[in-house]
């Protein structure tokens, strides 16, 4: 089956990100395709590229990246929710006259319409909220 996850909890504030990543591993282990993770609400903070957790804590940012590298999972960040919260890729940073950017590949800023498309085109959408 084609799975998608919707993550709405901020990393290190709520268990949502940890729960979603644990579920993601289990989905893959059962032979499903985890096609998409969509980040909305405070979930967009999962994409903050400068996240620097202590070494003895799970590195959530790296765990998301590995999902993309090892399984081709697309990591989509709602652009409206992201921009409000300071999550800008290089292009958006330039467009808004900001120095530096806070989000980079493999995370992609995308419209909320993508979430609707994901819900339509995947077999299962499972939400992890704060």
């Amino acid at each position: 089956m084609r799975y998608a996850l919707l993550v709405q909890g901020g990393p290190y504030s709520h268990q949502a990100s940890h729960s979603a990543l644990r579920f993601a591993e289990a989905v893959l282990a059962r032979g499903h395709h985890l096609a998409t993770v969509f980040f909305y609400h405070d979930g967009v903070y999962n994409a903050a590229r400068l996240s620097a957790p202590p070494q003895d804590e799970p590195h959530l940012l790296d765990a998301w990246r590995r999902l993309h590298e090892d399984h081709g999972t697309e990591l989509l960040v709602c652009i409206a929710a992201g921009l409000r919260r300071g999550l800008l890729d290089e292009r958006e940073a330039a467009r808004h006259g900001k120095q530096g950017h806070s989000l980079e590949a493999p995370f992609e800023l995308t419209g909320l319409g993508q979430l609707i498309e994901v819900g339509r085109s995947h077999d299962r959408l499972v939400t992890f909220s704060p």
Binding site: Y40, G111, L112, I116, E117, G119, R120, T127
Partner: protein, 123 residues
């Protein structure tokens, strides 16, 4: 209640305006889905009914309310607004106190609304 239409997406709204962004972001999702041609219904449960009260205003620093978004629902052909009857009565709110026209649901009709839609987003 058997007049709940079949739909592509049911957006459940369970938070009131101003205190957090769930209501705004939930309504955003509903409007975008409708713009993409999905048949969208809204279900207001619990505190979500506070979204519908008349006479709301801006919050501090001009914080936007959600009333303008509710007024746009018709333009996007979102016409099925289901409201939990008990949530209204618990708060002493009458249907006449609401800024849009709604259908009241209770009991099994709530589960029916979930069953009648292919996809559900819960905010």
């Amino acid at each position: 209640m058997n007049d709940i239409p079949e739909g592509d997406l049911l957006v459940i709204l369970r938070h009131g305006p101003h205190g957090n962004s769930w209501l705004r972001e939930g309504l955003d999702a509903a409007l975008v889905a409708a713009a993409f041609g999905q048949r969208v219904s809204l279900l207001f449960l619990g505190e979500g009914v506070m979204a519908l009260l008349k006479d709301q205003q801006e919050g501090p620093l001009g914080q936007k309310g959600t009333q303008p978004m509710l007024e746009m629902l018709g333009m996007y052909d979102i016409e099925t607004l289901l409201v939990d009857r008990r949530a209204l009565s618990e708060r002493g709110i009458e249907v006449d106190d609401l800024c849009v026209s709604v259908s009241l649901v209770e009991g099994e009709a709530i589960a029916g609304a979930l069953a009648h839609h292919r996809q559900i987003l819960n905010f």
